[in-house]
Symmetry: C2
Subunit: 428 residues, 2 copies
């Protein structure tokens, strides 16, 4: 993977540390910036992207040409490609972030103590966020917008294949932050494709980076999670399940399974495994499998599922923990709620899991006992998304247990402080 680090080399270290120091300084100023200044900057950033559309697309043409010459495949080139519509979408994204509530300064809780002390828990930025991404140059604008609105400075590390495009975008954005009275270093792109830059970022740049968000494939995320010396907001994979309980309505189950698996197969909230309760296997299994196969999905099943439809392929042990990210599903018949929950605990990735049932008690059991960031009753796993949650844009989905869990939106990019207002109180 092009953005992954070799061992950090000494050559670019001074530059990386300088980027870190500038980001930290910018973060101090940005933390105190007014909502109006930040929104104005976001509007200017959107307008500047539209204005620079030609320049961005020209840089992208060069990146695309180089990637083609390297023999990159069609999916890769599509992720890399920008056109007028995609640049417009980036600009629209920035304006949407401007319209979201500012999490900085938000009073999350307020109480008064018997001694009269007034205590508030107030949102403050995390500080400096490092974004390490691969071939999608639109991450440059999306991440920069979310970080700026949440009062954080950002250090962007683009994949080498999208480097020219990302550089033109980042320069356009940081130029206009100055015009809004915000520090130029609010948004910095690491200005080199030298692979050792990633290693330095994972080391935290001498305390200058507070959190790293990797945006890319599983290899990138795994490496970041393993090597980072600072907190990471990420999910390694989304091995999501739909469990069709014995009290499931068949029509609803079909509706949800079809959407959860096939609406989009490449997203982390796409279902990878269907669990069907043995009690309703006779009535529900064949219709569900038939529906999936006829919709173009490969079904890999346990022996019982294989018996239900001759087109079902054999599921091997490796299929249960697999994130297919494709029109393939693993299907298993389970002996009730306990086995379903055990299967999810054993093979899942603590991302998003759903139960379909008309039995509220069974649903509540599932929701309480399945230890995933998102658990759903009678709804598609593809709702695992900050926008669908009403958070506005998100920078990703986290499956860690600390700080950010589930969609990572503006609020998850902030922390808090306690503000205590007194009238001379002392502690007895």
């Amino acid at each position: 993977m092009s953005v992954l680090s070799n061992k950090p080399e000494a050559s670019i270290e001074p530059m990386m540390l300088y980027i870190g120091r500038r980001a930290r300084e910018a973060a101090h100023t940005l933390a105190l910036a007014s909502t109006e200044a930040k929104n104005e900057a976001l509007e200017r950033m959107a307008a500047r992207l539209e204005l620079s559309s030609g320049k961005i697309i020209e840089a992208n043409r060069q990146d695309l040409e180089a990637a083609q010459n390297k023999g990159r495949d069609a999916a890769f080139l599509d992720r890399l490609r920008l056109d007028g519509l995609r640049v417009a979408a980036m600009a629209r994204g920035l304006r949407e972030v401007a319209s979201l509530a500012d999490p900085v300064g938000k009073v999350m809780a307020h109480w008064t103590r018997p001694n009269g002390l007034e205590i508030s828990r107030v949102g403050v930025p995390l500080g400096v966020i490092g974004i390490i991404y691969e071939s999608r140059p639109n991450v440059t604008a999306d991440a920069a917008g979310l970080c700026l609105k949440s009062g954080n400075a950002v250090i962007l590390r683009s994949g080498s294949e999208s480097f020219l495009t990302s550089l033109v975008i980042a320069n356009a954005l940081s130029e206009v932050t100055v015009a809004s009275g915000l520090p130029e270093a609010s948004i910095q792109l690491v200005p080199t494709v030298d692979r050792s830059a990633v290693g330095f970022m994972l080391g935290g740049l001498a305390g200058a980076i507070d959190v790293i968000v990797p945006r890319g494939g599983k290899d990138l995320v795994a490496r970041v999670q393993e090597e980072a010396r600072v907190p990471v907001f990420a999910h390694l994979e989304g091995v999501c399940h739909v469990y069709v309980h014995k009290a499931a309505d068949l029509d609803m189950a079909k509706h949800i399974v079809l959407n959860a698996k096939l609406r989009r197969t490449g997203v982390c909230g796409a279902t990878e495994t269907l669990l069907v309760d043995r009690v309703v296997a006779r009535t529900h299994l064949a219709p569900l499998v038939e529906m999936l196969i006829e919709a173009g999905c490969e079904v890999r099943g346990d022996p019982e599922t294989q018996r239900a439809d001759s087109r079902v392929k054999v599921a091997s042990e490796e299929d249960w923990p697999k994130e297919f990210l494709d029109a393939i599903i693993a299907v298993k018949v389970v002996d009730g709620l306990d086995e379903a929950i055990d299967h999810i605990a054993r093979y899942g990735s603590q991302h998003t899991d759903a139960i379909v049932t008309q039995d509220k008690q069974a649903a509540e059991q599932f929701l309480a006992r399945v230890d995933s960031a998102i658990v759903l009753h009678n709804a598609s796993t593809q709702f695992a998304d900050g926008g669908e949650f009403g958070m506005g844009a998100e920078i990703g989905i986290a499956t860690g247990r600390f700080h950010a869990r589930g969609p990572v939106g503006l609020e998850q990019l902030t922390t808090f402080k306690y503000v205590v207002r007194g009238k001379g109180q002392i502690r007895p």
Copy 2:
């Protein structure tokens, strides 16, 4: 330091991994335990401690004797010593934790989407908490109680000097959890004084530990923060400041400074540096210094402070970032709010800092711009305490920016999941 690790050695690895696996299993059960079961267990734990008081004090006598033979000083022996009153205080602490609200299952937020999806953010335990402590055996019961109430399994690593005492306490506690229907492994003490146990815990026991909380001196905390491969809730030091602004009422300033510095000098919320605005130095500096010296506090001042009182000693550059934890204070005259804030940013530890002023605008500036876990206006820094915040018992104070910041009480020992309830909704 006796509990600090050498390099992990292979000999106790199987045992440590077994402890980790048992803790993880216990955590799964404990996460679903009812509030009633947990409270009953806490009450039983309290009663059992009272019943075992003689046995605990006898074990403590042996620990004390060994420590005395090693030539440990009086302060160390005092931290180690348990008597009937201290055992009773541990029991009372457990009953207090029983009386606190259960953070598990708490609905922190709830909203309905336009498509009818009902989304809740619900408190869930973190999982398995590792506590690494030194000579205070009461940490055994205090930490075990907080972890149990918050639905977390705990792995306790006692300092070698308090090991016998801690072992008797931990055994008493884990025995009665079983009687309340909770797993025996909810509370485990590492049953060896082998130093390599700490190294294994810092490595996370193959994913079995979710967070580590060090309880002890600065050397322990520094080492844990540096070596831990899992999140750590801790503060390295509390270099707390009181800034007497030019609009401060002198009487209030004296009242607050005296308390902030001298109420208890050994706590992390004790003030270590006093900053006095140059505008009021002529009227406020000498009375503040005189008060401190007459109360038995050594004052180390900048040249201006030295001129204010002949008894003031010379403050060196090393005194500004110093956590004295003693009746010593560093005093400096600053040129207004900006210099005060800059001084705190440069020398402070992002723990707790206060401003004394009658000027609300200046106070709000200070509260917004000082980047510490706790910032106060017209109140003593010694309020930095979970109990004083109304959280009930705390396991410590954290100065990190993630998840827990400030006092770490029951709520900070939990995370959350999103629970989504639908009626068959699919994503368009």
